[in-house]
């Protein structure tokens, strides 16, 4: 478990000073008249430490597991670490390849062939060494998932079986799931299993036929699109972790990068007959998700086919 920080250090206050100015993170209830220059007073209050930095302390007490250190996981890890999240679990079974670098911006050319989880952890350390950063170079499985999310708030994208696995583990552990995906020039974002919002299975009780699933290796993606979606995830994780709460519950945000259009969709609530989060759940422990979905939990084989 994460050790509870009693207060911010002077170093912390210096590092996070610009975000401590926000009433949402630092100086609660003093956001009068920043416009006119009297905000300098606000900063002085912040620096003198005479108020409680409730939001920032909440962040420093939060653990987040990032499933996949790819196009979405890179900006997500980057901005969570920069903002001062307490602990960051970085999970990826894969190694860095040249074709990742157009969107997976935490890795560098010199990291080709290295485990993504390790490469990402090193980059995060360079940015903020005060974050407790744990790389997991492994595949998430029904055997290890529940242990990995102990004390962790969640966030993830991935292939279809891993999506169901992550969802079910989140429901069983009572953690919110900030989920995003990006393909070609489109992105989608939803916060599942959070304050009455549906879980992934409420929305998609039956997995899609494997032949209808397109991933980035097949469909292509403009790198900055997962960049944008990963930043959106980071924003919602930070809002949840600092105590403000997400504004995306029971919503699906769709982003069309081509036309620069956003659309926010009102989703169904938690379903009473959901197999996972409903009133009489039929699934009460993690199952074999590759069998359930009829597809593999990695896209490695597909890559080798090329």
């Amino acid at each position: 478990p994460l050790t509870t920080k009693p207060a911010l250090s002077n170093e912390d206050i210096k590092r996070y000073s610009r975000q401590l100015l926000l009433p949402e993170l630092g100086v609660k209830g003093t956001h009068t008249d920043r416009q006119g220059g009297s905000d300098r007073g606000g900063l002085l209050i912040a620096l003198s430490g005479s108020v409680s930095f409730a939001g920032q302390l909440n962040l420093s007490r939060t653990s987040v597991l990032i499933v996949g250190c790819g196009g979405l996981g890179c900006p997500l890890a980057q901005y969570l670490a920069a903002a001062g999240i307490g602990r960051l679990g970085l999970l990826d079974y894969d190694e860095v390849e040249l074709s990742n670098l157009h969107r997976q911006v935490l890795h560098g050319e010199e990291n080709q062939g290295q485990a993504k989880a390790l490469s990402a952890a090193r980059a995060v350390k360079r940015l903020n060494s005060t974050v407790e950063c744990i790389p997991y170079h492994l595949q998430l499985s029904p055997e290890n998932a529940l242990q990995l999310i102990q004390h962790m708030c969640w966030s993830s994208p991935d292939n279809v079986p891993t999506r169901y696995l992550v969802n079910d583990a989140c429901v069983l552990s009572g953690k919110p799931l900030v989920s995003a995906s990006a393909l070609r020039m489109e992105g989608q974002l939803t916060v599942y299993n959070y304050c009455g919002s549906p879980c992934y299975r409420c929305l998609y009780p039956v997995p899609p036929p494997p032949e209808t699933v397109t991933n980035c290796s097949d469909g292509g993606v403009l790198g900055v699109v997962p960049g944008i979606m990963g930043c959106f995830q980071a924003l919602e994780v930070l809002k949840i972790a600092s105590g403000q709460g997400s504004s995306c519950g029971q919503q699906l945000l769709m982003f069309d990068a081509q036309g620069f259009r956003f659309r926010s969709i009102r989703l169904r609530p938690k379903q009473v007959d959901c197999a996972m989060c409903g009133e009489s759940p039929r699934v009460t422990q993690l199952i074999d998700y590759e069998a359930f979905c009829g597809s593999a939990a990695t896209d490695k084989c597909r890559k080798l086919n090329l």
């Binding site: 995906s181 990006a182 039956v206």
Partner: protein
Amino acid sequence: ACAEKMAAPVAVHLEFGGGAELLFDGVKEHHVTLPSQPEPWDIKQLLVWIQRNLLKERPELFVQGDSVRPGILVLINDADWELKGELDYQLQDQDNIVFISTLHGG
């Protein structure tokens, strides 16, 4: 006499996204007019109409039985169709119906 029993034609705005548009020549937006028919149009009938008139190939990537295939979300006027009655929702003139395929990349 027959005309009196018919519902008027219904103009609807259809959108496909998340990759579903690739089954429709890559065209994301379609303005269509559904002809008069004895009963009001519902989503179930719209799916049949789309299959016959817009979808030219590989219907199994769009429909399954009399509904959409798993992994496609239907939105009626910017709300999840589950909130509106799903297949039984009766179309109104100028409705906006979106078919969105779940993305899996990252």
